[in-house]
Amino acid sequence: MDLLIDLIQLSVYGVVLGSVLALGAIGVSMIFGILRFAHFAHGDLMTIGAYVGLSFIMITDAPIWWALPAGMLGAALTALVVDQAVYKHIRRTQPVILLISSFGMALVLRSIVQIVWGPSVQSYPTGIQRPWWVWEIAIVPTHIWIILATIVIVTALHLFLTRTRIGKAMRAMSDNMDLALVTGIPAERVVMITWLIGGALAAGAGVLLGIDSRLTPTMGWNILLPVFAAAILGGIGRPYGAIAGGLVIGLAMEISTLFLEPSYKPAVAFVIMVAVLIVRPQGIFKGAL
């Protein structure tokens, strides 16, 4: 009985973590779909988003949830600047050069975070969280809000991709870059918008993660591996798969704490990812942008 309660309790945590991972993985997947490389600085974009959001509510004294749009804007602009300053110039070379560059960019972003906000641990003023008890399961209000925020962001993204001209153009580019070019779709503009959205989603993940736990300069890097695992599980380049991937990885990571040290959570994500790569190098879920 206790085990069952533990399991349900951990599942709740798993869905919360999975929401955060999904937001990150969608961005990774979208960037891969259009630019064809694994973006290693994605975790650090999350970190930037979390800190910008925190600064915004600290400075303006706004309610905590205002951190979400503020952080998303900050990270979206950061991603755009990084792309225009660096990635743009090496986009025509091999994708692997972009991979190396983004690995370096991860460290650049992290050191900027350390310089601007300092190395110490910070946290969002969530106040005292009094959990609601459902049966013997504790449900913390912020967790509900995190899941709701994720649903809102994902729905907005879905509407953007399926209803707007530019969203459809993004899907078209990820389908077939050459055809998009001869159709007259302005590739550079679509790439810029991809970075804005990818950055915003990363920040969404970062702020929610920051609200759920604490902020450190390495928070994004530490969660990058599970994010990649979620993106690969969902079939990299396929954002809707990334949502499912995020939930599976999130649940697996939390439930693993029943029998493993919690610090091994990222390793659990990694093991699942390797298993997926061995069995199905294309990822598990089928779908498309």
Partner: protein, 321 residues
């Protein structure tokens, strides 16, 4: 600074350069020759370092050990352990495309770091392993040399050996096949080459060399903790060295190690003296920023590095007109 201080600094400087040059040569084997993307260098580095440390240290209540093996056994153990790790990873990732290999290697490196940090029975966790000796110190003392100087000589000796092996590998038919596979896989396969075998060999040998670098580091530094194997030190600097120097070119790997380590350690000195007070607390991140930006500049302006890859002198006699 006094002369003796400068001399001591230079000894330590070149010892680090030597260790990093060994790592860069190992990476060159994997990336430069064979085109395999490993950003988990820190993992192989760590396995080598801890293996040698555990094999050679006297008994300690804090971690596995007490075998008290000789130095060379530690080195061999480190090489074998990291080669085995390379074998397993290379075998798993053989069929994967570059991006997945990158993610998988960083995953294994981070997982190893978690193990090192958490399995205290094995490594004493974050408190680290201390008291790793320089078993060659007595020998050099007998020659009237300091143990630091001894470390430099030992590291240089291994560096010469590694350079010799890697450069010969590059010039050999084996290296030729590696480059052929990197350039055009279907054509290499149509030329009868077993691509899987060659790939794996380059990955394993590269991993073994990284393990050797780890072991030398352990004995020189005398203390190991998970901190040393953060991706920044263990992987990122090595990559910047190879890219800056010129991947595919072993001399480039050496040159990159010297230049980047000079910038890296020089920036520490510079920032400790020249930084305005308001920023003095940020010297660490500023240095990382500097190297990170440097990498971007190299990738944009000179992606083939300072010394681009050259064609090995395959012609021992000149029949050409």
């Amino acid at each position: 600074m006094e002369l003796a201080g400068i001399a001591a600094y230079l000894v330590s400087f070149f010892t680090f350069v030597g260790i990093y040059a060994i790592l860069a040569l190992g990476l060159n084997m994997q990336w430069g020759f064979s085109g395999q993307f490993n950003i988990g260098v820190a993992g192989f580095f760590a396995v080598g370092a801890y293996t040698s440390a555990i094999l050679t240290t006297p008994e300690s209540p804090w971690h596995l050990g007490g075998y008290g093996m000789p130095f060379l056994v530690g080195i061999v153990g480190a090489v074998v352990a990291s080669a085995l790790l390379g074998l397993v990873i290379g075998w798993i990732t053989a069929r994967l495309r570059t991006d997945y290999l990158a993610i998988a290697t960083i995953g294994i490196a981070e997982t190893l770091r978690l193990i090192v940090a958490n399995e205290r029975w094995l490594t004493n966790g974050v408190r680290g392993m201390s008291g790793i000796e320089r078993p060659y110190a007595d020998f050099f003392a007998a020659l009237g040399l300091s143990s630091a100087m001894g470390s430099l000589i030992v590291v240089c000796a291994f560096l010469v050996l590694v350079y010799f092996l890697v450069e010969r590998a590059r010039q050999s038919p084996w290296g030729r096949v590696q480059r052929a596979i990197r350039e055009n896989e279907p054509a290499a396969e149509a030329s009868g080459k077993n691509i899987g075998r060659f790939r794996l060999e380059a990955f394993v040998v590269g991993s073994a060399i990284m393990g050797l670098g780890g072991a030398l580091y352990a004995h020189y530094f005398g203390f190991l903790s998970p901190e040393a194997f953060l991706p920044l030190y263990g992987t990122f600097l090595v990559w910047v060295m190879l890219i800056a120097g010129g991947s595919g070119n072993n001399k480039g790997a050496l040159l990159g190690a010297v230049i980047i380590w000079a910038i890296w350690s020089g920036s520490e000195f510079l920032m400790s003296t020249a930084l305005p007070e308001a920023l003095s607390g940020h010297a660490g991140p500023l240095r990382v920023l500097l190297i990170g930006v440097l990498l971007q500049v190299i990738l944009i302006k000179r992606p083939e590095g300072l010394l681009p890859e050259t064609t090995p002198k395959t012609v021992p006699f000149g029949k050409r007109d």
